[in-house]
Symmetry: C2
């Protein structure tokens, strides 16, 4: 990996920072955040502006360029990568270390008095703008919105914004029509006495209209906004996608409809002026509902007195609770995904001893097996295929420079998933193709105990997921081991593999309470730097539980695993399991046998079926 | 309980709300919060202004009086009590119910346009002022500080502010001299580049100067403020307390000292003008450190640009980590407290069957036994002595109207504690003096399992206490039971029985990480409305733990119980305990026997000793 040479680019950027064609007044600093205009976690190539200007292409990082300096803030996952990818023009700001200044403090320390700091108001979320603007103002500087993105002005070979065809999802996938979703949304709006709702997150637009796209890799979304009024629907979207007869039919664009369900299609770029027009037309007490993470540009378009901001939108909350059709789809997707992984692990077991399987080949093979399954669309994230020490790098993705060959002497960790038209999968299994050491088995078994503790947990309706996080750690903690990531995240239904508003993480507090129908991952791990990584991940569905006293009718909840892939029994030290845990493993494997076994049989995949049957033999616990 | 007649009082209050002698302009509403000028949890009689004006004397509630209305906001614990204590002039606003308006929303709905809402700026914390002021301003009203407290102007027989003698604590109790505490504080101030620190919480003043008082019942504190500069110490305190030679000697008021340790004693009431003078004298970049919960009056005294506000002050954090002298003192206090409770329970066992022991008598007897112990000062909170259905009222305090007689047919719950000169105690035991039902034993045993799960938990250094809260619930949850309070709170060392910044509660997130030397309570419970209450509470010390892998040298922590009072084995269903839990109980009881037994022996309390020995017989688990 050699660093990107950025001398010329930075020179150009510093010129446009003073060029009256782009800025009303020269800006002495320019901020280049990671995100896109929708605060997406995964972004399109045309939005990778921070990577373009600096060379550093990790998933998190903020660049700030002043007349004299160029600095990059990123977190511990990326210190090494950023240092490798950036040239000497850049200073790496290691977030989380005690002596690293915040962006605000650094700006104040390097800027001449009365400076202007520019940023694209569409890329910076309103809450971040507020914080930074306040800090700069109190030091005598100004944060100013620069309408034209200055990186785009110098990015001559910037890829085009993707504008790929849409997929329409009928009721058998979504369970609820877009019309009924609009009705439900309007009733939430009426409850809060809000007249308008602005849909800014890409997965929320996709969910609301029962459409999917492929504008962003791994996420079946498309670039669009919507403004929902009590009597109007405006969809902001580009390209000829609205010419597709299937889409026109799906959205009933050519039908005679009650006016309140008539969708007005408008250019993607006209959202700001349309929202400003809405904002200007408001009567007193009419409010506009926005996510508090919406961009500064859109938030500012609504006069302050008319804004109604919440951390989670009603769409985000409704989307999280999967209906029967979605749940069934998720089940089907996970069975197909399990078939693919049985094929893969059976293949790996034969091939790994030959010494010819690399991490990249294993990842490719996983994709190949998945792509043979019905309604496969794409992967749901970049496959983490890691062996030995690479497994200890939590966000590892194999590249030729790091690509390691799988062997019978090392633990192999595979964290992978796919988008099927009926659901999204995300599963991690940790395998040994030779003989694991006692220590490796010990650590694996603690992780398994944590996984079971969450999966089998019973808790009252209304419990927030973060309260379950410690259950996953208790067995590890007892021996002085831990892992430095959350235990689970929300999972979309043929949508983003990471979604709010629920999860299982000690890092969050403002998650929404778990309720039946929500889907999260359960993925504790243990990582030994330089040696190995262990993680056991299932996607699990929140379901009602039966308890003796049922929390005085408050209701009881627990989880049902949707993922049905064997957990390698060879890695388990059975003596460390309680009887209850042992039974959990055996019942889980029995279900894998029955459900996935039947599908393997149906697909005529007899060798993989034999592998499944062998891998799901019951554990025998020595009393 | 008959309600207080407030017609005349409200008339008087409405008059002073317009009286130019007290208000610059008439105020259309006046807010009467619960607290005192130090945001204390427990307050002195002279600060019970809300109780005076309304009749409602629960621990939490805010009154607002307008020209037409009088309304009281309180939470679920007090709906019944408030309704009983207030006359028909008052509207009860039940907080936590969906249709109850917030104070701000209610004010906006009842006030005429452009109203002024008054409040005593010393009583309202700065963060609350900010929130309310913003909401009122956006609706066209103004929140205004009213210097003279309007309740005080009509409270003709208001008790005097207490001004009781001080207790000086020498090094054998405190472990660190006040001088060294000042040195440590100044070093924290230097770290944060802060020139001044304002001590506003009463327990922080007491801790800093190694002084105690008795101005507030149950809390050994005294009314005072302090302003600590890098070279100056100002102590604001009233009365002739500074004439006491022991206090003068302790504070070295008459010694020749380095100027930076010379304490300037000033009148309590001069804090505002002194702080204003400090605020006016600041050079750029000189900051003043205040708690963000300090009063609006004091916060406003420092110009905004010079304020440095944090949720936890350096004193709060230092105070939470007990040193060796404090820990030893706490141990001694808990042994004495256990002696008193062995005496009490032995006495109850004999007396309850006679049918002559009421809740109040039992509470009095507990105090009597405690007061026989060395260095006893007072109780640390109002004793919760409750039998049968009263036990299900979590914050119950027996009064003649509710006073129930203990019997051999009902569960008895005693939550009590004391202030000794060497430490503060807080212990809950749940007993049955006859034969408990299978259901009562079942519930008790789940609570015990939760208690043990926390007490025996092992966790990495730096873990926040709220992450342990679910451990206390897991056994209850498995059967569909829960309790609606947090699991633990910080405990002071001969100071407030509730103190920050750590605790074990699902309700908080911003608690400080646990570290060795911190002291918290571990008190899960279960409450069956109308039938019984169960709670098992020990005060526990955070200590280093030995683990196999020690979190890669991050360090392991666990708890050591300081409370050493038998847990009634008659209430335990041994078959529901694991072997590990059974061993925990037996080891705990063994320690009670050894440590408390020796002290009972030393004090010649042979009957109580026999009771202790009988109650600590090992459990035998049927395999």
């Amino acid at each position: 990996m050699s660093p990107k040479i950025t001398t010329e680019l930075l020179k150009q950027l510093r010129q446009v920072m003073k060029n009256p064609r782009y800025v009303q007044e020269p800006v002495q600093a320019y901020i280049v955040p990671s995100g896109d205009a929708h605060q997406s976690e995964y972004i399109a190539p045309c939005d990778c502006r921070r990577a373009f200007i600096s060379g550093f292409d990790g998933s998190a990082g903020t660049a700030i360029v002043t007349e004299q300096h160029a600095a990059m803030w990123t977190d511990g996952r990326y210190f090494l990568q950023a240092a490798h990818q950036m040239d000497s023009n850049w200073t790496l700001m290691k977030m989380g270390l005690k002596d690293t200044p915040t962006q605000e403090d650094w700006l104040v320390s390097v800027l001449p008095e009365g400076s202007k700091v520019g940023v694209d108001p569409f890329i910076i979320p309103a809450d971040q703008w507020k914080r930074m603007s306040k800090a700069l103002r109190s030091a005598g500087h100004d944060l100013v919105p620069v309408k034209e993105n200055l990186i785009d002005t110098i990015w001559t070979d910037c890829p085009q914004r993707p504008c790929k065809p849409l997929i329409t999802l009928d009721l058998s996938y979504t369970g609820v029509s877009w019309r009924d979703k609009i009705v439900a949304l309007r009733s939430k709006m009426a409850e809060r006495k809000v007249m308008w709702f602005v849909v800014t997150a890409l997965d929320e637009v996709a969910w609301l209209f029962n459409l999917r796209g492929s504008d962003v890799e791994y996420n079946p979304v498309f670039f669009a906004y919507a403004i929902i009024g009590m009597n109007t629907i405006r969809l902001f979207i580009d390209g000829d996608r609205m010419m597709d007869p299937a889409v026109r039919e799906h959205l009933q664009l050519d039908s005679t409809l009650e006016p309140e369900f008539k969708i007005q299609v408008m250019p993607y770029g006209s959202i700001l002026s349309e929202l400003q027009a809405v904002g200007a037309s408001l009567s007193p007490k009419e409010k506009v509902w926005l996510s508090d993470k919406a961009s500064y540009a859109l938030t500012e378009a609504v006069p302050k007195a008319y804004r109604y901001l919440t951390p989670y939108t009603p769409i985000c909350i409704a989307k999280a609770v999967k209906n029967a059709a979605e749940t069934e789809g998720m089940r089907r997707a996970h069975i197909k995904d399990a078939v693919a992984l049985c094929e893969l692990f059976n293949w790996l077991e034969k091939e790994v001893p030959k010494g010819t399987v690399t991490e990249i080949l294993a990842a490719d093979k996983a994709e190949e097996f998945r792509s043979q399954q019905k309604d496969f669309v794409e992967l749901s994230f970049a496959t983490i295929s890691s062996t030995g020490p690479n497994g200890a790098i939590i966000h590892y993705k194999p590249v030729p420079e790091t690509n390691r060959t799988l062997s019978v002497n090392e633990i192999y960790l595979l964290d992978s998933g796919a988008q099927y038209k009926d659901g999204t999968t995300d599963v991690t299994r940790t395998m040994h193709f030779g003989t694991p050491s006692a220590y490796e088995k010990e650590c694996f078994t603690y992780v398994l105990k944590g996984h079971i503790a969450v999966s089998a947990a019973i808790f009252p309706n209304g419990t927030k997921g973060h309260l379950l996080d410690s259950f996953a750690r208790s067995a590890l903690w007892d021996c002085g081991l831990d892992y430095l990531h959350g235990t689970g995240h929300g999972v979309g239904s043929f949508l983003n593999v990471h979604e709010g508003p629920c999860g299982i993480s000690y890092k969050t507090f403002a998650d929404e309470p778990l309720e039946a129908g929500m889907i999260v991952s359960d993925e504790p791990g243990y990582y030994e730097d330089g040696s190995f990584g262990i993680r056991i991940e299932n996607v699990v569905l929140v379901i009602p539980a039966e308890t003796k006293y049922n929390f005085k009718n408050r209701g009881s909840l627990t989880f049902e695993p949707l993922t049905l892939v064997p957990i390698q029994t060879k890695m388990i030290d059975v003596n460390l399991l309680t009887e209850k845990e042992c039974n959990w493993v055996n019942e889980y494997h029995q279900k894998c046998r029955e459900v996935v076994g039947a599908e393997l049989e149906r697909q005529g995949r007899h060798e993989a079926l034999r592998w499944l049957l062998r891998e799901t033999e019951p554990l025998a616990r020595v009393q």
